[in-house]
Amino acid sequence: MAEEDVLVRVKKIVVDRLGVDEADVKLEASFKEDLDADSLDIVELVMELEDEFNLEISDEDAEKIQTVGDVVSYIENHKS
């Protein structure tokens, strides 16, 4: 799975879940600051990412996720 492919899939989920413009979903975009997500949105996002990429993200790791880039690198590092 190439990094770009991961980014494309993450972008789609973020756009669907948060109802934001795809153009705003950049690697450095913060979910809370830039994409207007609340903490419950992030919990849901994490659950959806777990389904999409078939992995389990621990509560501890989930708390560290702040930007779109955090998600992409987490998936890169943990994909099966």
Binding site: L40, V43, E44, M47
Partner: protein, 248 residues
Amino acid sequence: MGLQGKVALVTGASRGIGRAIAIALAKQGASIIVNYSGNKARAEETAADIRAAGAEALVWQSDISDEQSVQDMVKQSVDHFGHLDIVVNNAGITRDGLLMRMKETDWDAVLNTNLKGVFLVTKAALRPMMRQKQGRIINIASVVGILGNPGQANYVAAKAGLIGLTKATAREVASRGITVNAVAPGFIVTEMTDQLPEDVKEKMLSEIPLGKLGTPENVADVVSFLASDESRYMTGQTLSVDGGMAMQ
């Protein structure tokens, strides 16, 4: 059959109020996960009554104060039925005694099952409910959590805490179509209340405006309402089913 196609997990469903709730929801058409902690034979009796009512039952042993045990139960429930729509946090224990003589172990045991257990079951159940964008969580509190009761500091603290937990959870998940409410039963005829001394029972009876003890079915009827679509615009509430003991 207002709950046709729904799946409900009822903790502590082998006897007492939990058993009545499980059967009442089954009669409305819901499939039931019958959780129990120790008494498998009694849990199987509840399951038999559920099947006799034409609903599906899955009997599952779990210590609700143990996170792994709870997560396994919820996962198995969702794997088996495909979804989870209603959770009734009913399981509870008592270790009564005057506060000044209460052992730390008695405090911990009651808080672990009656309050932490609800937290753990709710946490696990919210995952599938968030995915579904709908769900009903119903916590069984107690009139003593509202009025207090001597000799039950641990139980009262847990039940009052449960009412607060109900409100906090309700606010957290309201935007996702999940409602969280509590039912506070009064003096209900069960094995738990049978253990109370006669003079305590007499005194309690004198404090019930409706003049009689409640039945597990009285509580189950209100839980059925909270599980149904009719209660869709209610969340964070505690409904007293106590013959008028605590009027708010």
